[in-house]
């Protein structure tokens, strides 16, 4: 798992790749929470995420809850069809805005 975060105006853009599972989710979470000190609009670019486990989904949902409490927004970009499918079957998908590209994601954040 690798993660990079940057600030683009008021938007926090995070690019994650590899597996997000019980082992890596805590690191993703703490980095994203740290980045969110600077803003409450979060774009997570997941085009490089191969596997998202149950613990990873919970981490994202918890982030969503924290951002929503601050009247912010979370957009997930480039979620693979398989992960999208899992998110749909387990109900997690209902909480997120999904976009195919960073551009589309940024306009969804605006």
């Amino acid at each position: 798992m690798a993660i990079e975060t940057k600030l683009d105006g008021a938007n926090v853009i995070a690019t994650v790749s590899g597996d997000i599972d019980g082992k890596s989710a805590p690191q993703v979470q703490s980095e994203l929470l740290a980045a969110l000190q600077a803003g409450n609009r979060l774009l997570v670019d997941m085009r490089g995420v191969v596997y998202l486990s149950s613990a990873g989904l919970r981490m994202l949902l918890l982030l969503y809850r924290q951002v929503a409490a601050r009247k912010g927004k979370v957009v997930l970009v480039g979620v693979s069809e398989e992960i999208r499918d899992t998110m749909s079957m387990t109900g997690f998908i209902n909480f997120f805005t999904l976009a195919d590209s960073q551009e589309a994601g940024l306009s969804a954040l605006a």
Binding site: G22, A25, P26, S54, G56, R58, S88, M89, T90, G91
Partner: protein, 720 residues
Amino acid sequence: MSTANAATGRIDAQEVRIDYYPTHEIAGFRLRPGKPFPFGATLVPGGVNFSIFSSHAVSCTLVLFEKGAQEPLVEIPFPDSFRIGHVWSMMVFDLDCETIEYGYRMDGPFDPADGQRFDKGKILLDPYAKAVGGRDVWGTPPDWDNLFPYRGRLVFEDFDWENDRPLEIPIEDLIIYEMHVRSFTRHASAGVKHPGTFAALRDKIPYIRELGVNCVELMPVYEFDEFENSRRHPDSGEMLYNYWGYSTVNFFAPKAGFAATGRLGMQVDELKTLVKELHKNGIEVILDVVFNHTAEGDERGPTFSFRGIDNKTYYMLTPEGYYYNFSGCGNTLNCNNPIVRSIVLDCLRYWAAEYHIDGFRFDLAAILGRDPWGAPLSNPPLLESLAFDPVLGKCKLIAEAWDAGGLYQVGSFPAFGRWAEWNGKYRDDLRCFLKGDPGKVGALAQRIQGSPDLYGWNGRGPTASINFITCHDGFTLYDLFAYNEKHNQANGENNNDGGNDNDSWNCGWEGETDTPGINSLRMRLVRNAWAILMVSHGIPMVLMGDELGRTQRGNNNTYCQDNDLNWLDWRLADKNAGLLRFARNMIAFRKAHAGLRNRYHLSNRDYVGSGYSDISWHGEKAWNADWSGESRMLAFMLCGRHAKSGTVCDDYIYVAMNSHWETQYFEIPMPVPGSGKWHVAVNTGMPSPEDIFEPGSEPELGDQGHFLVQAYSVVVLVAR
């Protein structure tokens, strides 16, 4: 605020609570004495609390595995100081909740004559495990040499239900659809992405909603092993499974193989998502629960959980230490032992609270009223506990009020004001009347009124009666009128399995035929069944596919068939579109008429001053029903002013049922002046679409005084 980590529960909890820090270290694992409550494995900050009880074990070892591994990651014997009473508990820290599988070794006496069967060579599944690994994908052949086939897994109990909660639909308004999760969508014609799963069932919710039922009753969704007693058919070579699943491996865990995400260990989320979505669509969920026996069988069966943990507690044993077999499945769960009672109660509370389940149907529930030696109790403590439990306070409780040991309690099941029953007499009497047996009109009158002969004397009311003509056991509704005899050869038991008392009629030819007259008669009888079921007092239950004319080709016991004998063929929706339309409108008719859904029995008298009694009986002559032994016809009228005990004004409803082979001329009673004119809602003697009219669009009847009812037909009129 701690820096809580939702994903793993790993936090610096030790700084938050003084009782979440490790005090011991064994084999490199940090741990501390656990909390006895709750039983099972529970995520706590920084770790997992394991707790298990056994009344007779002398020592216990926690065995942890990496997911799927053959060899344990570690075995941690519980220090004796970690035991309180008969409960061993321990917190283990720094575990990866997603990849850990756990079990126990129990040591104690092996003395079968005394009921003791401990074997510390076995690694045992926690009866309180909330998820089970080992059969993650349906039909994947297991490794038979695996010493630990069913493995406890940890679950996140953090599902976001938002505003959902059980629907609490008044039971008299319920229309139940009994279904098997896999059968519903496994057929290629279902056209779903993940056939045979909870997710696919969710995709099909629009169909269920359009049908109009407001409750699905799911055949077992607890973890069971489809490979239990699996075998090849001696002739066809077809694989035969434990398909229906009436054989529980674990009572708390959903069947992973029913979840498209089971291979990811997310079956809990997938099932909860299904329940939430059903609720959003106004559909309740009842689970078929099998607390009468387990998948361990008798003394020749495998030991994977209960037997190895506390045989003498969990099972009813003969004085010689063998297994009583009131279930017909090898063993009998010892339900009125106080400990087993607790686990049943804990389990149902868990499903109601964690999964928002709306009700439960108890398989072979008469067993739940037997004492530990098998004798029926007059006041069974388990049934009483369930009836008065606060968490289950609004759940529907439905008993299959008989067992395989000969106890038949339809009408006399200990109800405590709560329990409803599968009314087996409704099924039997309706079947006989529908196929034209003489001498059935008296019984029919009782069944239509919600069986006051069974549920009136004890004040239980029509809501105690789950009315059904077909269920998973036995013929489908179509087969009921296409076969005289069962045809169970596909089960590989020389047609010896399955009931012989089907009360069915093949209409003149056994099985499929091209003869139009026979086929149209069959479809008319199917419609008659739908019509009478939907105008009867009590709670109607229909079997999945009976709205489409589903066939099992005469097999009345498809418990082992993972093929199109069970899979619903969705192409029937085109082939039998007229029947589907009939069923939808018949359900709509029931929903449109409060007078069909009274909570209390009809009194056969006029208590609102309308001039007509709440129900009146008719025949060829109005006010003059033929109750004779040769009669095959009956009509009744419901007075609209008596709906809901006279608190609601509904239409007058007149129903004429003719199971005679000849057309009958019925004189129709006049509704009370001012109540309007008779309109034809249903006439099964007419071809589709004249057989039924949508509520509100019924045509006015020309001759308001008489109706020619075709042979084997049901007519329903409404006055408005």
